[in-house]
């Protein structure tokens, strides 16, 4: 818990400093090439950007701890409500991508491990190599060309909201989730394969086979469970990466998610939003790591936390 607080404190300082050290002035960006220097100076003062860094930071962090992340400069609405509304896209997108990733990568990794150095293994690894090689945005565009432009099965992008029903909402997230999960799927499939391969060489697997257990039982009850620790570790890291990857795919599929909120806020120097989003995402990643640590305990009873 203490580690969590310290991590978040450093994140908050870092984001606050970095965004202010960056060249580029919020007032100038709002006014663009038509604004006068005088108008920019007035605007800067109105936004409180002319005060010392430390004062600005303390004020911000004190409010943030109380749950108030400030107001967006460009939208004039509370940052917290912006983040929450964008999470209704990014969270299901990330979870769907993670679901697709786990549901395909783990079976494929296990399959490849059991066909070690045979055709099935090679095919599976070529497929995952493809996943590593093809960038997400490119995969996304190819999926759009096939499923939206050619076949007309799903829309090319956008998100009509959960108000339209769960199925239409999920459907508009399927292509981006597939594109997003594709790269991470490849990494996870390879991790699963090597982890399972390693466990299959262990003595206890030989023992299980020797005592006449069916191959399926050996694989799932003994090998897979023991191979899960590295797999879960990698999957946990990947969940964070999926959130980061959503920034690119939300742009390709023009989804109103957290990633696009962040990108727009950075280029508009909407400082309260950038700070709020980064702090929020950092908290999420810290929480995912905690969850992964807890999962270890379930998988391996020898691991206990004091």
């Amino acid at each position: 818990m203490a580690a969590l607080v310290v991590t978040l404190f450093f994140v908050s300082v870092l984001v606050f400093v970095v965004i202010r050290v960056l060249p580029g002035d919020a007032a100038l960006i709002i006014l663009g090439t038509e604004g006068s220097p005088e108008a920019a100076a007035l605007l800067r003062r109105a936004m409180g950007l002319d005060r010392p860094f430390a004062v600005q930071y303390l004020e911000w962090i004190a409010r943030a701890v109380a749950g108030d992340l400030g107001r967006s400069i460009q939208y004039d609405v509370p940052v917290a409500s912006l983040i929450l509304s964008r999470m209704s896209v990014t969270l299901p997108l990330t979870l769907l991508a993670a679901g697709l990733m786990v549901a395909t990568a783990i079976p494929l990794g296990v399959f490849a491990a059991t066909r070690h150095r045979r055709w099935g293994d090679y095919l599976a690894m070529i497929l995952s190599q493809l996943g590593v090689a093809v960038p997400g945005f490119w995969a996304g565009l190819l999926l759009v060309l096939l499923f939206s432009v050619r076949l007309g099965w799903v829309q090319a992008g956008g998100f009509d909201g959960w108000g339209q029903g769960v199925w239409p909402a999920l459907r508009s997230l399927l292509l981006p989730a597939a594109a997003l999960g594709f790269f991470q799927f490849a990494v996870l499939a390879r991790t699963t394969r090597s982890a399972v391969l390693e466990v299959l060489r262990e003595e206890f697997v030989k023992t299980a086979r020797a005592k006449g257990l069916a191959e399926g039982a050996v694989l799932f009850r003994h090998a897979l469970r023991n191979a899960m620790i590295p797999v879960i570790t990698v999957a946990g890291i990947q969940l964070g990466q999926l959130m980061a990857g959503s920034i690119v795919l939300e742009t390709v599929f023009y989804l109103p998610g957290l990633g696009r909120l962040a990108i727009g806020a950075i280029s508009a120097r909407d400082l309260p939003v950038v700070q709020g989003v980064v702090l929020f995402v950092a908290s999420m990643i810290v929480l995912i790591n905690v969850a992964v640590d807890v999962l270890y305990g379930f998988l391996d009873p020898r691991i206990r936390y004091e």
Binding site: L22, P23, G24, D25, L28, I29, I30, L31, G32, T33, E34, G35, S36, P37, A39, L42, L43, A46, Y75, D76, V77, L82, S85, R86, L100, A103, T104, P107, F111, L141, V144, S148, G152, W153, V154, Q155, A156, G157, G158, F159, D160, G161, Q164, W167, P168, R171, S172, L174, T251, V252, F253, Y254, L255, P256, G257, L261, G264, S267, A268, R269
Partner: protein
């Protein structure tokens, strides 16, 4: 379950999920129109930001001005049914009667007074406050008549009154301008899903009878050109207003489902130079750079030949436009000679700072690098983010050369400002420009503008490369979209689906 079967099942589920519903969820037919715009507006308040993304949605569609710039660039009566001036100093506007705001209240002269006074007030931070500060007094004569006296004659004052920052809104709704602006326009803001879309619905009480034709307009924010093309082809959007690159034009023209509009704009793409810095402070060097550039090749290489070549800083949509494109022609031998005369027989090194947010800047820069190299000017391209460009190049003039499109109409005034990022200080030009501002007679003014344009071409404080074309793609059957863009708004009041 064996493993291959597990994989097969997941695949089948995925295929089933994708096959699910059939047609895309967003319907785009009938009296509804889905329009792509590349950027989400940073708020909807035209009185605090000059962003073109706000103008595209709000100006003419939701809020209107006393005077309107029509699709040919002409100033026409709008919320003011006529006006009167003899000296470009004292203006009287006669308001159209029976014009109602979206809240049902009639627009009166007091609203106009409120709007103008608020724009003049430093506390409201209007981006064009300087334009309104010229006003010395505002007198409301009756509910439909208002007189303005300026401090000195200003020939461009009517244009200022027609700009997006001069929209008329009801004073009681001043606090919601940023999120739900009220006005007199043909559409009402009905929904804004942050990050995704803004929905406008028809204003049933619109003061122009029979308009608008559409019941509902949805603006979708799609920043990426490839995604825009895919959205158009899959039927998700009906109109791409500003999102297509010139590379898509041929392909879309061949496709029977679409029509492509290629028109003129006020967007002059300029190779700017830092006139306060050596060697650009030397006119011979600036002319040498201009002679070294083959603008035809630039237009072909960067814009697929779309757009128009410029030779000075007045765009073809301006009534005072003089074609100066041949004034300083492509002549590499002369370029080398001029450079030698200026003391640079072996050329020099330069950094070209561009912001890739505007795709044409990088493409144009790449063509220029190879052309200028032939004259001995060794240019290195440095790509910087837009926010940095605004700080370093635009604000601090910390640059050698840059490329950007200047979209503001009548922006020749920038050369009369020695602090503008060109840092060009020419008293004679300033004097001429000032004279043009106070000259009321149109013929005389036209003569002055011809002189200004020639002077710019001769002095070469920048290289005017080309006018960025207007590129719009729509589904077949949509009518009423402006061909040219004399003002960066997207007037949808007369847009309709052909029956």
């Amino acid at each position: 379950m064996t493993k291959p079967r597990a994989i097969g099942l997941v695949g089948a589920l995925l295929a089933l999920a994708l096959a699910g519903g059939g047609v895309p969820a967003v319907s785009a037919q009938g009296a509804n129109l889905v329009v792509q715009v590349p950027a989400e507006p940073p708020g909807l308040d035209l009185t605090v930001s000059p962003a073109t993304a706000i103008g595209a949605v709000v100006h003419y569609n939701v809020q209107e001005c006393l005077v309107k710039v029509d699709e040919h660039g002409k100033l026409v009566p709008w919320l003011a049914e006529r006006w009167y001036t003899t000296d470009s100093k004292n203006y009287t506007f006669f308001l159209k009667k029976g014009v109602r705001f979206h809240n049902g209240r009639e627009m009166k002269a007091a609203d106009v007074k409120f709007v103008l006074e608020r724009a003049m007030n430093p506390e409201t931070k209007h981006p064009h406050r300087v334009s309104y500060e010229r006003i010395a007094s505002i007198i409301v004569k009756d509910d439909y008549t208002i007189s303005l006296a300026l401090k000195e004659p200003s020939a461009n004052f009517l244009l200022d009154i027609a700009r997006q920052g001069s929209v008329i809104y009801p004073r009681e709704a001043v606090d919601t301008l940023k999120t739900a602006p009220l006005g007199t326009g043909p559409f009402v803001v009905s929904d804004w899903v942050r990050g995704d879309r803004i929905v406008l619905t028809r204003n049933k009480d619109y003061h122009v009878k029979g308009l608008p034709h559409l019941d509902r307009v949805t603006f979708r924010f799609i920043p990426d050109a490839n995604s825009t093309l895919a959205a158009l082809k899959s039927g998700d959007i009906d109109v791409s207003a500003f999102g297509l690159g010139p590379e898509s034009v041929d392909e879309l023209k061949k496709d029977r489902r679409f029509q492509v509009i290629v028109g003129d704009t006020t967007n002059d793409v300029i190779l700017s130079m830092n006139n306060s810095k050596k060697p650009y402070s030397d006119k011979r060097v600036r002319l040498a750079i201009t002679h070294a550039i083959d603008k035809e090749e630039v237009l072909k290489g960067a814009m697929f030949g779309l757009g128009k070549i410029l030779g000075s800083n007045v765009d073809p949509l301006n009534p005072y436009f003089v074609d100066m494109s041949k004034a300083v022609p492509y002549d590499p031998a002369k370029a080398k000679k001029l450079l030698a005369e200026a003391g640079y027989p072996n050329g020099f090194d330069a950094v070209l700072r561009v912001a890739p947010q505007y795709y044409y800047t990088v493409r144009t820069g790449e063509v220029l690098v190879s052309q200028l190299a032939k004259a001995g000017v060794r240019v290195k391209i440095e790509q910087i983010e837009w926010g940095q460009w605004l700080s370093q190049v635009y604000k601090e003039a910390n640059y050698d050369m840059s490329i950007i499109g200047h979209g503001e109409p009548w922006d020749i005034s920038n050369y009369a400002n020695p602090n503008y990022y060109y840092r060009w200080d020419n008293p004679e030009f300033r004097r001429l420009f000032k004279e043009s501002e106070v000259t009321v007679d149109d013929k005389k003014r036209r003569g002055l503008y011809a002189k200004l344009q020639k002077m710019l071409a001769d002095e070469a404080p920048a290289v005017w490369l080309y006018m960025h074309p207007r590129l719009v793609a729509t589904k077949k059957g949509i009518t009423g979209i402006w061909k040219d863009l004399p003002i960066s708004s997207l007037d949808l009041s007369e847009v309709a689906w052909q029956k």
